[in-house]
Amino acid sequence: MKRRETSLFWRLVLRVALVLCGGAALLSAAAWYYARAAADDAYDRLLLGAAIQITANMTVDAGNLGVTLPSSAFELLGLAERDRIFYRVVGPDGGTLTGYDDLDIGVDVTAARAGPVFLTTEYRNVPVRVAVVSRALSDPSFSGWAYVVMAQTTEARRALAGELTSRAMILVGIMSLLALAGTVLAIRYSLLPVDALAAALRARDPQDLTPVDADMPRELKPFVGSINHFMGRLDERVTLLQRFIADAAHQIRTPLTALSAQVDMLDDDDLDANRKRHLGRVRDRVSQLARLTNQLLSHAMVIHRSDSVRFKRVDLGDIARKAFRSTVPITVDPDVVVSFEDSAEPVFVRGDAVSLREAIANIIDNALQHGVEQRLAVRVRREDDRGLVEVADDGPGIPPDEWSAVTARFVSSKTGEGSMGLGFAIAAEVALAHRGTVRFLEKGERDFTVILDIPLYQEGT
């Protein structure tokens, strides 16, 4: 089963949205409650006003209680346009004087003596709001309490409450959306440093194991600290490993030199063809081993120097010539045309002459070992603010998809016979230390070319 990818952003947004939804629901419920109370309050006043108008129109005439129902009382209630009105006027004997006899609200009307009574109930299967108002009549011929029970259906109240609630809900909804949008922006903004850190890590050179020094918010410091701690340990391990390899190479070189001398001393004249072939192979392998050991040592030296030697102003042409001379053997195949072309004026770069020579020598050596068929050209030139050492050969070259691999540490091309060794890795290491690169030009109209590209020396840098 595929695990769902978790995202900090969505986790936060989801939780904030849940809280906002809950809050909105709560606020809407509160709004509904208050709207209902407000609507009831507003329409209760009408109801009370109408009931009081009726009580005010009660008269006692010759010992009989009479009541005139003023139209205005009903007009008042008619302000709630769609609501039906029920009323009952109750005399002192509890009998219905006029109105709806069956409007029995289930409470004792005498409770209204202390003050108007409001209640919500049902009448004729519809919900009604009821007000009961009393009036004390004190006529010589007649005294007692009379009551007016006034009931009104609740359509207008509900409509008003609904309208108030829906408006409040719209506001709550808009606020929630704004809050959510704000949250999204805030989360995006606060997660930016994470992206920045990731970008910084991604953009790093694979060989760069120095601590990450980016401006990070406090919350990310432990994270960055952990990364740096881990990288420090990794760096230590790598250094240890390099030292071990260098030591091992150094240890191997002495017996290897002896072994090489011993092999050279072997006289192969009295050997049969088969053994002669075997001896030839042993010689090849020994020289290969010697070369690799030298490269390992050279690599270790280059790394060591890049950490410890102060760079100086050096002439790239000069260094390249020395490297060319030391690398191209006098015994080179006479069929191969070898050329060296220096720049017209010195190409000064800021660097370590020993490392640079080592790098150029390794590139030329590689070309001699694996590339050259008939032509090898070494050129030093200057392009804008960069100094270039180009090594071109007419061999098959290296396919573009392997370019990045061959410059990586301890990796060599799989094409061709044998191993290419550490040549390019050393060159790349040196180039990196000099803030330059090792580039390739594909074989085409021109020969396959390896370019060591180093920035020119500039005063003050």
Partner: protein
Amino acid sequence: MSMWRQFGSLALGAALGLASPAGAVEGTRAFFPALEAERGRLVINGATDIEAMEPLIRDFQETARDVAIDYTDYVTNDLYRDADIACRLSQPFGDLLLSSSVDQLVKLANDGCALSHVSAETRDVPAWANWRDEVFGFTFEPSVLVYHKDFVPPEDVPHTHGELTDLLRFKPDYYRGRIGTYDLRQSGIGYLLAFLDAQQASTTYGRLLESLSRAEAVLRCCNNAVLSELDSGNVYIGYNILGSYAYAAARRNDKLRIVLPRDYTLILSRGALVPVGAKRRDLAGRFLDYLLSERGQDAARREAFFFSRSGALPAEVDGPAKLVESGIGRPIRIGPALLAAQDRLQRSRFIDDWTKLIVDTPVRLRPN
């Protein structure tokens, strides 16, 4: 279907102890067969003269050719009583009720006896003629004075309620027994108009009532009864007659003249209501929509009720040009305020007072 209805009406009749035909003049039944094969029958119980309704019903049938209409004409009070009882007993009582006594329809709606009806047509009805989408006013009928030209000299023609009072006061002998109006005991619309008169101008109304009493007013159950007395010359002036009936009578007899009082003119909008027991609520809605539609309103102005909300006064009617805009015309708002008129205590006392003054008081004791 018709078996059921007969049964229903029998049951209702039994429940009512057979409604007595209180209004002998109004109280007829008419059947309008469908123009094509009948596919529905609409039962209308109305308190509106069949002569007024007939053109509308026939015009409606032009638009609904497969609908037959069974129309029964009641007196307003009987219609209300039967509808009220049917509603209480949850029995059917027609599909549509039409009544000029809108306070009774409002009371029915308030008691939960009405079904609401909403359509494009009902939305155009002004607020004062629509309550709860249950009671709709579909006509525009001023309450008018009608006089007989031969017996009322031009200088006597009253133009306000006050002038009528004064006329009866100054020429009591000439007009004694010659003023016709409703009998409030029998007519719901008569009661409503009198009640609203009393509210509009209580002093004027009191004086008018005294004058009517002194003039020994002729009391009739209904508009047409008063109008036929006018027609025959027994009565010279009719008071609080609905303009539609008055105009119809004036068209038949050119001696009859109509005056819209210039102090105030009550304007009644005849009400329509679909009762809860309606079996053909759909047809009732269709007919209601027709009544409220432009076509229905046009037909009503042309042939049935002659006055309309938007149109000018019909020719030869003496009244203010702009009835409603001038503030003289006072439309009776269909709404809960009419419940005050329907309070039984209020009603009985109002009618008692009226009866005491108009009917029971011996002539010699009447204020002079």
